[in-house]
Amino acid sequence: MTQSAIRTHYLQVLKDLIAIPSVSAKHENLDEAANFITHIFESLGAEVIHDNSFYAPFHYR
C-alpha cells in the first residue's frame, strides 16, 4: 500500500472507532472499543495481551 492508501484506510478506522461511544463515566461500550483495537493490533501481527482482571468500580457510594 502507498502512504496515501494507508492514511485513507486508517482514517476510516478512526471513523469506525469514533462511532463506538465508549464513555467510561457511563461504563458504556468499553468492551466493544477494546475489542476493536485489539483486532487492529492482532491483524498487524503484534503480540497482544488483553486483560480485564480488575474491576473498575464505576459506581461509588
Binding site: 461511544p21 464513555v23 467510561s24 477494546a34 497482544v48 482482571s53
Partner: protein
C-alpha cells in the same frame, strides 16, 4: 470491566531500545448534545478539520500512531529498529481506575527507554507542545445532613439548614488571599527547579489572553494576588468546587429548608502530594473548625509527576519535532491537566514525553471536539521519524 491492552511490536535487531506508546480508548460523555455542530459519534471532515468525540482525546492520537507504525513497516520491509509497545487502557477519563494494578501485574514486561504520552496540543502561536508531566488530582464528596427530611422554611429562623452549613464550611477552605487555608496543604509541594521555571516563563500565556479566550467575567486569581501566572498554573495545587446540590432547584418556588447538602470537589495536586493525605487534611480542617458533622469521602485520586526534560530520550523527541514541524517546539515540564503519568513512570522507569495532534481550539471534553488534518498527518510523520531515529547509534 474495561479491558487493558498491551500490544508488542518487536524490533528486528538485538538489544534494541523500547518505546512505550500510551493511549486510552475511553472518552468523555458527549453532552450537551445540542451544542455540537456535528454528530459527536460520527467523524466528520470539514474545512481541513475532523470533528467528533474522542478525535483528540484520545482515539485520534492512537490511530495516528498506529498509522505511523504501519507506514514505517511498509516502507522498511517490516523491520523495526526499536521495540514498540502500545499500552492502551479504558478508564483514563475515570482517573485510570485500576491502571496501577494492571501496571503492577505486567511491570516486568514494561521496562522501557521512553514513553510517548497520550496527547498534546499546538500552542496559539502554532508550536508543538512537548510536555513531561501532569498534575495529580483527588476528587471527593463533601456532605452534611441536618435533619431527616427537608423542613418548612418558616423554621429557618431557628433551624440551621444543610445548605448554609455546607456553604459556610466550604468558604473556610480558602483564605482572603486566595490561598488554600487547610493546614499542611502546601507542605509536600515539589518546588520547581530553575530550568522548570525558565521553561514555563517562556510560554506565550498571558492573563489577558486567558480572559479573552474563555470570555471570563471575573479577573484571574493571579491578577488579584499578583502571583506569577505560569508558575501558579503549572506548579501550584488548587481546590475547586465542581458542583453543589441542595434544596429545591425546580421551576417556580418551593419554601423549603434543605436537610441535605453536598458538594463534589477536587484538589489539583502537584508532585509529592498524596491524594489520600490531602483528603484527610480537609476532613481534619472541617473538624477543627467545628464542622464535625461534615463528611469528606474520596472518590478518585492520582498523584502528579514531572519528567526530566533534559533526558536524552526526551531531547530526541524534541529534536524530531523541531525538524518535522520546522518550528521550535514549546517545551513544558508539566501540563496543567491530569493523567496517570506517575503510575506509568513507576512501571516503566522511563522518561515521558507528551505530544500529539491537538491545537489550541480542540475542545477536549467539550462540545465540538476537533483536530486539524494537517496536525494529524504531521504527528504521523513525527512518530515515523522517531522510529527511524533508532536506526542511529548514540
Amino acid at each position: 470491566m474495561p479491558l487493558f491492552i498491551i500490544a508488542k511490536f518487536k524490533a528486528s535487531v538485538p538489544d534494541a531500545k523500547t518505546v512505550i506508546i500510551y493511549n486510552h480508548y475511553d472518552v468523555q460523555p458527549a453532552e450537551p448534545l445540542d451544542q455540537w455542530r456535528t454528530q459527536p459519534w460520527e467523524l466528520t471532515e470539514a474545512d481541513g478539520h475532523l470533528w467528533g468525540r474522542g478525535v483528540n482525546d484520545d482515539k485520534g492520537n492512537l490511530i495516528a500512531r498506529i498509522t505511523a507504525l504501519v507506514e514505517y513497516l511498509t516502507e522498511h520491509d517490516q523491520q523495526l529498529p526499536v521495540n514498540i509497545v502500545f499500552v492502551v487502557e479504558g478508564a483514563e477519563e475515570f482517573a485510570s481506575k485500576d491502571l496501577t494494578r494492571y501496571l503492577d501485574k505486567y511491570q516486568s514486561q514494561l521496562k522501557a527507554d521512553l514513553v510517548i504520552w497520550e496527547s498534546g496540543d499546538r500552542s496559539t502561536d502554532e508550536r508543538v507542545e512537548v510536555s513531561g508531566g501532569t498534575k495529580g488530582i483527588v476528587t471527593f464528596d463533601v456532605t452534611v445532613q441536618t435533619a431527616d427530611i427537608d423542613l418548612h422554611s418558616s423554621l429557618s429562623a431557628v433551624v440551621d439548614s444543610a445548605a448554609w452549613r455546607l456553604t459556610r464550611a466550604l468558604a473556610t477552605l480558602y483564605d482572603d488571599n486566595n490561598h488554600v487555608a487547610v493546614k499542611g496543604f502546601y507542605d509536600d509541594v515539589l518546588q520547581p527547579n530553575a530550568r522548570e521555571k525558565a521553561l514555563v516563563a517562556q510560554l506565550p500565556l498571558t492573563s489577558s489572553a486567558l480572559v479573552e479566550q474563555y470570555h471570563l467575567a471575573v479577573p484571574l486569581l493571579t491578577q488579584q494576588t499578583g502571583e506569577d501566572l505560569q508558575e501558579t498554573l503549572y506548579f501550584q495545587p488548587s481546590l475547586n468546587i465542581e458542583g453543589i446540590q441542595t434544596g429545591y432547584q425546580g421551576n417556580g418556588v418551593k419554601t423549603v429548608l434543605p436537610a441535605l447538602a453536598s458538594a463534589k470537589m477536587e484538589a489539583r495536586l502537584v508532585p509529592n502530594m498524596s491524594p489520600e493525605k490531602t483528603v484527610q487534611q480537609i476532613q481534619t480542617h472541617f473538624h477543627q473548625l467545628g464542622f464535625d458533622d461534615i463528611t469528606v469521602t474520596q472518590t478518585l485520586g492520582e498523584s502528579g509527576y514531572r519528567s526530566d526534560m533534559s533526558d536524552p530520550e526526551v531531547l530526541r523527541v524534541i529534536d524530531i519535532v523541531r525538524r518535522i514541524s520546522q518550528k521550535e517546539p514549546m517545551i513544558m515540564p508539566t501540563s496543567a491537566g491530569t493523567g496517570p503519568m506517575f503510575d506509568v513512570y513507576h512501571a516503566t522507569q522511563a522518561p515521558i514525553a507528551s505530544l500529539g495532534i491537538g491545537y489550541a481550539h480542540s475542545f477536549d471534553h467539550a462540545p465540538n471536539e476537533n483536530i486539524r488534518l494537517r496536525d494529524y498527518f504531521e504527528h504521523i510523520d513525527v512518530i515515523k521519524a522517531l522510529i527511524a531515529d533508532y536506526t542511529k547509534k548514540y
